[in-house]
């Protein structure tokens, strides 16, 4: 097992929710430590947030350490909509 950095590009929105979920699931299954860089992603909606939140639950169940990096948009939308921005460790 290994650790990896997954670079997400493109929007984190409902149109891309399926490929996003697939990429995340594949990466979680391959690694025991995973950093997901969201910094290059330009937009996010609640469907995107939902995938990212769900990924943290999947990672936790599998004992995988999952962190979202450069995740300001994700964090901001989580907070605005009343969710804890799971997976964000940066202050």
């Amino acid at each position: 097992m290994s650790s990896d950095v997954l670079q997400i590009t493109g929007p984190l929105t409902i149109d891309q929710a399926s490929p996003l979920a697939n990429s995340l699931l594949a990466a979680i299954e391959k690694n025991d430590s995973l950093d997901v860089d969201l910094g290059e992603s330009e937009s996010i909606d609640l469907a995107g947030v939902q995938v990212l939140l769900s990924a943290t639950i999947a990672a936790e169940q599998r004992g995988v350490s999952l962190r979202y990096l450069r995740a300001e948009r994700y964090r901001s939308l989580c907070e605005y909509s009343g969710f804890q921005p799971l997976g964000v460790t940066e202050p």
């Binding site: 409902i14 909606d45 609640l46 769900s54 909509s81 009343g82 969710f83 804890q84």
Partner: protein, 722 residues
């Protein structure tokens, strides 16, 4: 000012809010990261914006909105507080004051506003997305996500101006559970949340108990749901309207859980079990069974698989939120019952009337004494007791803490010390000391001058201080305390102190001294208050030109106060001001000299002695032996020599022993009457500089008595003493 003049009321309110804003910013500059001060600044701006919106002041609202948004960013932890924000906040305060002074903005004011906003945006780029709000609507929690996210941790962070307002707020619990197809039909819950925020204060709790793990997730289905607490002035229909386009796509339960109009005002609100039942999550029986297990209710229900931790947490948040709302409301109600706002002009009128009342009663008292009718005397005495009570209540109404005066100096000191390149720390003490509001108003300018002097001439440049072994930063301390019927105000600095030799030479040069005198240090310092005296050759912008401490002294004496200076060269200077608590009514001892009456402030009178019994000192000076030492005295008639006809018969004369600032003298008078309360009238410009008198009072029989300026009299006599 009245309820029919909303603009006038608003101006007054904005004035107070701007003072509060400035005070918070100046204190913030010292602490840099005090959340309460940041919140105070935010709330002041927020209230100005909200009230301005209701009056349709678009320029004001638009400007204040962006400034407020900057403080919101800091308050919500998205940005750090910075010195730039404080500086721009202060500039914004001045700008708002300018807008209020003239709502029709000229080009200069408008471009100044643009400059401030541009600089704010440069410091906090996130402000670019801070849209100006629509005026006339509640903006309590509006804003884009980047400006004011409210997360689950935001519970109960009530905006002060929303909490407890009198417009009938209701708190709703909204349970919003979208069906899985919600995203697919193009609905965006974020917009719904935003609309709810625009209705009032919200606590938004996102629930993800239905969210599956990634492998089982349909990425296009909606699994998220929300519990929302909304406190709003809107009614339930308006809340329902928010969801009008998603009614078929979600389960929506809206319930009123708290209202200002509820008779039940118990702060405790519901127990957790009751909240869970009212949410339809468990039955009363299940709660009862869980309670019987004598463990924490939430743990039991989660353990039994009846509820999730999230659902328990949401119920707890509701309980805390409603409790806090109720507490705030009760506090506001209590405050509104305990205090009302009264126009100061009305208060002034009341105090003046009470003063007239007191003076009129003196006439009644005199007539009743002349008539010798026991019944009239009895009524007069009862009336006197009542008048004293009314006087005390009226005076109390007129008292305000000196904080009102002192806090205005923070900004001045900050700006002046920068202008002068000095580092100055301000310490305030005794700010809750109360004085007559009119006295405080009249102290404003003299105090300002003293503080400017301390900054300009007292506290040295940082490098100079370091060379002298002092900390770079100078300290200016302004303190107030009670002393009987007086307040002592002390302005002290740890600056260079006063060079007595320089003062001496300057006084000789100015012809104030011949050069042969031997003066005590305090007498030398007193010279600084002599007209036209100044030891610095070049006037600065700070202390002004041509106006010296003589003006300050005459202002203070005009308030029946006194001023004296202590200083130690190299260590600092202290200016002591002693001022009566009130000017409106003075209790004095009425005396007669020849056919003229005088009133001596009772606070200065130590005792009255029968002159025939005192032992004159053998020297030819006017001295008597008094309590083991020599006391100077003088004949008031000779002092006010106009038309004085001494009877030569001293057997009836009285010696009134008075004291001021530690100086004691005797005043020889022909007769001492009773104590007398009166309103002091100004002498008018023609007589205001007559030494030894500070005002006039009207006696019961309509004649005039002069109020003695005891401070000046004791000073004169001690200067003439050996």
């Amino acid at each position: 000012m009245s309820a029919s003049d909303p603009m006038g009321t608003f101006r007054e309110e904005v004035g107070e809010l701007l003072d509060r804003l400035e005070s918070a910013l100046i204190r913030l500059e010292e602490t840099l990261d005090d959340p309460e001060l940041i919140d105070e600044a935010f709330r002041s701006l927020h209230t100005i914006k909200g009230s301005g919106g209701m009056l349709g002041l678009h320029e004001l609202v638009s400007f204040t909105h962006t400034v407020e948004a900057a403080f919101a960013l800091v308050r919500d932890g998205h940005e750090q507080i910075s010195e730039s924000l404080i500086e721009l906040g202060l500039q914004a305060k001045d700008q708002i004051a300018d807008i209020m002074a003239s709502p029709e903005l000229d080009d200069e004011t408008r471009s100044e506003g643009d400059r401030i906003l541009a600089q704010l945006r440069a410091v906090y780029p996130a402000l670019e997305s801070a849209r100006p709000p629509h005026t006339g609507t509640s903006e309590a929690t509006a804003g884009s996500p980047s400006i004011k996210p409210i997360g689950s941790a935001d519970i109960g962070r009530a905006d002060g101006d929303h909490a407890g307002t009198a417009r009938g707020e209701t708190t709703f619990r909204i349970q919003f559970a979208p069906k899985p197809r919600l995203f697919r039909v193009g609905a965006n819950p974020i917009l719904l949340l935003k609309e709810l925020r625009e209705l009032g204060e919200t606590v938004i709790i996102g629930l993800m108990d239905r969210l599956p793990v990634l492998d089982e997730l349909d990425p296009e289905a909606c699994y998220l749901r929300w519990d929302i607490l909304l406190t709003t002035e809107a009614d339930e229909n308006a809340v329902r309207d928010v969801f009008i386009f998603v009614e078929g796509e979600a389960e929506i339960f809206i319930e009123e859980i708290d209202s200002e109009n509820l008779e039940e005002s118990d702060i405790d609100y519901k127990r957790i079990g009751e909240i869970l039942v009212s949410r339809g999550l468990v039955t009363p029986e299940e709660v009862q069974q869980a309670v019987n297990e004598k463990q924490y209710l939430g743990d039991v229900l989660v353990e039994k698989g009846l509820l999730t931790n999230e659902q328990i947490d949401a119920a707890l948040q509701e309980q805390q939120y409603v409790r806090r709302r109720r507490e705030t409301r009760q506090r506001a109600a209590a405050e509104s019952q305990q205090s009302i706002k009264v126009d100061t002009e009305k208060l002034d009128a009341l105090v003046n009337l009470v003063g007239e009342f007191v003076a009129e009663h003196a006439t009644l008292s005199r007539i009743s004494a002349d008539l010798g009718d026991g019944r009239l005397t009895s009524v007069s005495e009862r009336l006197e007791a009542l008048i004293r009570e009314v006087r005390d209540v009226a005076m109390d109404l007129h008292m305000v803490p000196v904080e009102m005066l002192f806090s205005t100096y923070r900004r001045l000191i900050r700006d002046l010390s920068r202008e002068l390149g000095k580092e100055v720390h301000l310490e305030l003490d005794g700010t809750d000391t109360e004085m007559d509001k009119n006295v405080i108003e009249r102290l404003r300018d003299p105090m300002l001058h003293i503080i400017r002097n301390s900054l300009d001439h007292g506290i040295e440049q940082p490098e100079e201080r370091v060379r002298a072994g002092k900390p770079r930063e100078g300290t200016l301390r302004v303190a107030a305390s009670y002393s009987g019927a007086h307040v002592l105000i002390r302005v002290s600095d740890d600056g260079a102190g006063i060079n007595r030799e320089a003062v001496w030479h300057k006084a000789v040069e100015r012809g104030l001294l011949t050069g042969d005198e031997e003066l005590e240090p305090h007498e030398i310092y007193d010279l600084i208050c002599a007209p036209g005296f100044s030891t610095t050759e070049t006037a600065t912008n700070v202390s002004g030109r041509g106006v010296g401490l003589d003006v300050v002294r005459s202002s203070i004496e005009g308030l029946s106060g006194s001023i004296h200076i202590d200083s130690e060269e190299g260590s600092g200077t202290t200016i002591n001001i002693r001022i009566p608590l009130t000017l409106a009514i003075v209790e004095g001892l009425l005396v007669r000299v020849s056919d003229q009456h005088y009133l001596v402030n009772l606070a200065n009178v130590l005792e009255c002695i029968d002159y025939s019994t005192v032992a004159r000192h053998s020297s030819d000076r006017q001295l008597i032996e008094y309590r083991g030492s020599l006391l100077p005295f003088f004949d008031l008639g000779a002092y006010f020599s106009t038309d004085y006809r001494s009877t030569g018969d001293t057997s009836e004369k009285q010696l009134v022993v008075v004291s001021s600032d530690g100086r004691t003298v005797g005043l020889l008078v022909d007769e001492v009457y009773d104590t007398f309360q009166s309103v002091i009238k100004s002498l008018g410009r023609m007589y205001e500089n007559v030494p030894g008198v500070s005002g006039a009072v009207i006696l019961g029989d309509g004649r005039l008595a002069l109020m003695l300026d005891v401070d000046r009299l004791t000073r004169t006599e001690s200067t003439n003493s050996p």
